[in-house]
């Protein structure tokens, strides 16, 4: 089991999917040379993710941009079609890029995987937010209890950028 990602680590070279299984994106290539916020969530459409966590990042998008953030990415262990539908439902469109970590490869590489088989049917991603500059992790805010939004919120992250 990979230990949890920490400041100073480089982003792993993992492929995620943008809207469809035939649209792969290498996360390290996407984030090269940029200031990026990455938000991990247990599940698209799950209550906390849908009603509080993600909306915070959509709402704080302009504040994040004002702090030099180029890109806000949300990752979950869901298939690309579900992530695209969730983006549509949230109206996150041009603000948050929803990427599918279909096989939990990214979550595992970050040491952010959590076994939610009993409730959601598979290993999922812990709730966290992270600030990354040119593929080097600057801050990581993992929620101890993934059903809550506290350490991983957008307003908390804004204080760290």
């Amino acid at each position: 089991m990979t230990s949890q990602v920490k400041p100073g680590d480089r982003l792993p070279q993992v492929t995620l999917f943008d809207g469809a299984p035939n649209k792969p994106v290498r996360i390290d290539e996407l984030c090269a040379g940029k200031s990026v916020v990455i938000v991990g969530v247990p599940g698209a459409f799950t209550p906390t993710c849908h009603s509080s966590h993600l909306p915070g990042f959509v709402a704080d998008f302009d504040k994040l941009k004002a702090k030099g953030v180029d890109l806000v990415i949300c990752v979950a262990v869901n298939d690309p079609f579900v992530m695209a539908a969730w983006a549509g439902a949230l109206g996150s469109g041009d603000k948050v890029l929803m990427l599918a970590d279909s096989r939990a490869e990214f979550a595992k590489a970050l040491g952010m995987d959590i076994d939610l088989t009993a409730v959601l049917g598979s290993v999922r991603c812990r709730r966290f937010s992270m600030h990354v500059v040119d593929n080097v992790v600057k801050s990581v805010n993992a929620e101890e209890d993934s059903s809550k939004v506290d350490a991983s919120s957008s307003c908390r992250l804004l204080t760290k950028i």
Binding site: A85, T117, V119, L120, G121
Partner: protein
């Protein structure tokens, strides 16, 4: 035996079950559900409140349709398959079907969101086979790990009367919906 009673398979599957108990490495098709079989007494989940539903209880004493899809929000499932059952719901009721269920290996939150997006409320009920236990046992699972991240349901439709499978059609190409569409089932009712 009590073991078989717990697993809920009818007498007709005694042979395959004995084989399964004897050998661990049996192919899944030895446990395939077929016409004439009773549904297994398995628990699936319905809705974001995580309501547990027992398949045998759910389908007892009713004439029902259960159709399976590879994935909520995937193109064919969304554009064609689910809409056909929502649209033809009243016609199905007129032919004596009292309940219509859609099953997928998706969590209940995704299934609810998909139902909402398709206006299925009050017509098609969503069942989450979250851990693929039903589709695996029924021989209706499809390995879509490379596309969607895991085991999914084949595209199928069943007509079930008082818990017994009366009709079962499986789409040969899961990316298409032909024999498993509502109007095809209507013709056979």
């Amino acid at each position: 035996s009590s073991m078989m009673h717990r697993l809920g398979f009818c007498a007709g599957q005694l042979g395959s079950l004995r084989l399964r108990l004897a050998g661990q490495l049996l192919p899944a098709r030895a446990m395939s559900l077929k016409v004439g079989d009773k549904l297994p007494a398995m628990e699936l989940v319905e809705g974001p409140e995580m309501k547990k539903v027992n398949l045998q209880e759910l389908f007892a004493g009713q004439r029902s349709i259960l159709f399976g899809v590879p994935g909520a929000f995937t193109p064919t499932c969304s554009r064609v398959h689910l809409p056909s059952y929502v649209r033809d719901y009243d016609k199905l009721k007129a032919k004596g079907i009292s309940q219509v269920f859609c099953l997928a290996v998706n969590d209940p939150f995704v299934m609810q969101a998909w139902s909402d997006a398709n206006g299925a409320e009050g017509k098609v009920r969503m069942l989450s086979d979250t851990q693929a236990i039903f589709v695996e046992a029924a021989g209706l699972s499809l390995d879509l790990s490379h596309l969607l991240g895991g085991l999914r349901a084949k595209r199928f439709v069943m007509v079930i009367e008082d818990g017994v499978v009366k009709q079962l059609d499986v789409e040969p190409d899961p990316t298409k919906a032909t024999c498993t569409l509502a109007d095809e089932v209507l013709q056979s009712l």
